[in-house]
Amino acid sequence: MRPLLRSFARAAFVLVACSQSLAAHAQGIEQGRELFVRKDKGNCSACHQVPSDPAIASRATVGPALSGLRDRMPDRATLREMLVDPIRRNPEAIMPPFGKHEILGASEIERVIDYLHAIR
């Protein structure tokens, strides 16, 4: 009886931890979406469309439409580098240096990456 109870408790713990982690991840994605849209923050939707996200109403064409970014850029570090200072990878880039010029804080950039990686 005792081993069975112990296994049950372990499974319950894992389930709770997983659901908490999933909830935190979903919250991170939602925060990232908000930063993506806010004019005083990323204001990314002024330049990019997100065809798969009906919550983002944008007709913008300055930057490429964003879809399947996780497949194209699975590495968070690459995406982070582009958001922090895009000029380092492409001197002609016209995307603002969100990190270098402190438009977004480090944790805000992580939330934007959460959102960008969640885009289908």
Binding site: R59, A60, V62, I87, I94, P96, H101, I103
Partner: protein, 273 residues
Amino acid sequence: MRSAESLAAVLLAFALCAAGPSHAGAEAVRQEAIARLKLQMPEVPVANYGLGAAAFDLAPGGVADGAATAIVEEGRRLWQKKFRNGKSLGSCFPNGGRRIAGTFPQFDARLKKVVTLETAINQCLLLNKEPPFDPADARTMGAALAWLRAQSDGMKIAVRVASPAAEQRFESGRELFFMRTGQQNLACASCHLKSAGRVYGDSAILPAVGLAAQWPAIRGGQPVTITGRIRDCLARMGAAPVNFSAEDFAHVEFFLAYLSNGYPVRANVSRGD
């Protein structure tokens, strides 16, 4: 044949990107800008660059509206208002200010500086011991310009860069146009050359060539002067407090007006916010 043309276009694009802006004189710079824009916006005829937002499908407004009529009327009142010495703004300009806007800005060899319509109006006010207008103030300078430029509607822009000294000011304007600045680290060229014709927010980004044909523009019911618009752009770039001097603004306007040579003045066209 078509693929050869495409290849030539791609090679020209690479050459332009690699070489950056030319230093070979105002006309070469203008032709280079046109070549770049033609590659970037092949669907928009060069002749339409001066139409502003109306050249693009998304065009909000694009015609003079009731607000513009009221503003021009206010400008006429300011223009004809007698100074304390009995003169008026009209007394400072040939033909009372009619059919002159297409030739401004001008490099004044005697003053050794670029004179814009804004600075000419303020020189007139100061000469007649009247307080000058803020170049970006819609109520005074905006209204006066709305009336003045409306007197030149349809006149083709013909700005001259005819001496080494004028060329130097044009070059200064060009450098400022290409200078990245502010928290966004953008240059005027980032949008009006590299992204011209694309959509930012809900509006098409207007090309640098032809951009000076439409001043002032009516935005939110107010006339926005070219200086006001550049200030607004700089603020959007996160470059506030604006670090451009009055001369810097004049040089950028000189540069933009020269790029718009040949396009007809279209004053007081309504645009979105």
